[in-house]
């Protein structure tokens, strides 16, 4: 197991390098420059700015320098916000985006798995149909429609939660629900499908034959099988929760990473765009590795070699 983990971790290194090279190429080969969107600058000033950020050097040299700084944990300066470094901007925004995605994840797992279990255990009853119809509605309502509706109901009519802005955990409840609902719906369908898949399998029959209680069979055996598709869905789901937070942050006016990223992409703020993409990519790589490991722990048929 330990050897497997170390090997998988080593495999991440070339992947990470490819991602850095790829995103550097994508960002730098795009037409335009950080200083082209504003008024036409006098050539001397333009030259000085290029020299200040090192944009006058050949691209391979710039890349080598970027990689060196990256290894030391320095993501470079921001051209859009000259008084702040990319590290500072990310340190401000990323925890908020991460909290939002975390709340969304917890919400989607709680609601999704519960609805999925109800659907599978009470298959083809009113319970099942209600849960699955609700899931389909959940999949079809875009977050930017759901968000304003939740604000209208819980913040402006019932005054239970703040409508927008950032302060404490209360401020991420509505955004988290807004972001997580669509995933809750998918998880409900996956859980139900996965559990029904194992219902007819031999190990469930064995469990019944051993005289295990129905409750134990559901929780110990069926749920385990039912969660396998959910676990493999979690990698892409968390990735899209993290990036989907861009929209939700805009709805609820949260100062996360999202607004910075859209701004940075438009203004060709090379270091900020790169910094955010690289950070998220690394984060997701490690996360996908964790998902793989959890998958193996849940499914005894998988062996580590």
């Amino acid at each position: 197991m330990r050897a497997y983990l170390i090997r998988r971790f080593m495999e991440l290194i070339p992947t990470a390098l490819i991602i850095v090279v790829g995103s550097f190429a994508l960002v730098r080969l795009a037409p335009g420059s950080p200083f082209s969107s504003e008024k036409e600058l006098p050539p001397e000033i333009r030259r000085q700015l290029d020299a200040k950020y090192g944009f006058d050097k050949p691209l391979p040299e710039q890349f080598a320098r970027y990689l060196g700084n990256l290894l030391r944990g320095d993501l470079g300066p921001s051209t859009k916000y000259p008084q702040r470094s990319v590290n500072e901007i990310i340190a401000d925004g990323f925890p908020i985006s991460l909290t939002l995605a975390g709340v969304a994840l917890v919400w989607s797992l709680l609601v999704g798995i519960t609805a999925g279990i109800i659907g599978a255990v009470r298959q083809n009853t009113v319970w099942d149909h209600t849960a699955m119809a609700a899931a389909l509605v959940g999949i079809s309502i875009p977050s930017f429609v759901l968000g304003p509706l939740l604000v209208l109901l819980f913040a402006l009519r019932l005054h239970l939660l703040p409508p927008a802005g950032w302060g404490d955990l209360q401020h991420v409840i509505l955004p988290g629900i807004t972001l997580g609902t669509i995933y809750a719906a998918s998880i409900a369908r996956l859980t139900r499908g996965g559990m029904l898949e194992v219902v007819r399998s031999d190990f469930i029959r064995t469990a019944r034959a051993k005289g295990l209680s129905e409750r134990l069979i559901i929780w110990r055996h069926m749920l385990r099988g039912g969660l396998l598709p959910v676990v493999s869905y979690l990698g892409p789901a968390i990735a899209s929760m993290l990036t989907g937070s861009v929209v939700v942050e805009k709805i609820f006016n949260l100062p996360g990473i999202g607004p910075y990223f859209v701004d940075a992409a438009f203004n060709r703020d090379y270091f900020l765009v790169m910094g955010i993409v690289v950070l998220y990519a690394f984060f997701l790589l490690v996360l996908n590795l964790m998902v793989d490991v959890i998958y193996g722990l849940l499914d005894p048929r998988i062996e580590y070699s």
Partner: protein, 305 residues
């Protein structure tokens, strides 16, 4: 997903006399789909909405003489009335016209992006699997890497590179959205390429590209169509995300996402500016998802429990 039998000869050459007619996979699937009342109802809803979006703006323009950008400042922000069933927006533009026009944009972008994604994914997956060996590992490794990348961020970067035009939004979405199709097609081809008809074709000296495009890809169409129908609503949603962030279709041309963004900002004063675009968007996604589920159940009955 390997349980789908290759379509019979009748499916590959439709209308080829009455020899084997009536027993093909496609015929059976069509029969099953027609029995699924929800899917049929969804199909009708989609047809009606599409027709309304295509013809509606034209009819309104010829009858009442205004289009999506005709302003009537004296008649700004009025609630629904007989003359303007969806009301008017802040600038006195007819909201019904704008919603219909926006729906046209959403449907076009969703459909084209899904076509781009399905095409890239199918060819990529088939080539990777048929080539096998090192080529296959490298190509699939690339898919793994892309899978781990922050998807929405890549689309945003692509949109800022390509420019904010309608034409390129669907290219950007499709260019990033083909991964799932590639994986599914690869899995299919893995089992297909060992079958006798491929060996026969190869022993006859059929060139590799003919085997891939004539023999392998047509036999993977079932799962590809299923993925395609479920990709359309997700692409429509992505386009709305982009428009919501101000990156999609540019004003004064409307798209559903942009209309919802406007509406969300003024929902407390002018509720109809959020309610109608939001409802149309939700109904459209709902119907497309229902139809997609129906197509999946029809083409792959094993999936249904």
């Amino acid at each position: 997903m390997t349980g789908i039998p290759p379509p019979s000869a009748a499916a590959e050459a439709p209308g080829n006399g009455g020899l084997v007619a009536g027993s093909s996979l496609w015929h059976d699937a069509w029969k099953r789909l027609r029995k699924n009342r929800l899917a049929v109802a969804s199909g009708i809803v989609i047809l009606v909405l599409t027709a309304a979006c295509l013809v509606g703006p034209l009819v309104i323009a010829t009858t009442w003489g205004y289009d999506y950008e005709t302003q009537d400042l004296a008649y700004g922000a009025r609630p629904p009335s007989w003359q303007h069933p969806f009301g008017t927006d802040f600038y006195g533009r007819d909201l019904l016209t704008r919603v219909l026009y926006g729906g046209r944009v959403s449907l076009t972008v969703g459909l084209l992006a899904a076509v781009v994604a399905a095409t890239i994914g199918t060819v990529y997956g088939a080539v990777s699997s048929y080539a096998g060996g090192v080529v296959d590992s490298i190509m699939m490794r690339a898919v793994d890497i892309l899978y781990a990348l922050p998807y929405m961020f890549l689309v945003i970067i692509l949109v800022t590179i390509l420019g904010k035009s309608l034409l390129l939004v669907f290219l950007a979405l499709g260019a990033v959205g083909w991964l799932l199709t590639a994986r599914i097609v690869r899995g299919q081809v893995m089992s297909l390429k060992e079958q006798d008809f491929v060996t026969a074709a190869r022993s006859l000296g059929t060139p590799a590209h003919d085997i891939v495009f004539r023999h392998l890809i047509p036999n993977t169409l079932g799962p590809v169509i299923v993925t395609f129908t479920l990709t359309v609503p997700s692409m429509i949603l992505q386009e709305a995300f982009l428009s919501f962030l101000g990156l999609g279709v540019q004003a004064p041309r409307p798209s559903l996402g942009a209309l919802i963004n406007d509406g969300a900002n003024q929902m407390l004063v002018f509720w109809w500016t959020l309610a109608f675009p939001g409802a149309v968007m939700a109904i459209l996604l709902f119907a497309l998802n229902f139809l997609g589920d129906g197509v999946r159940d029809a083409l792959d009955p094993r999936m249904k429990h």
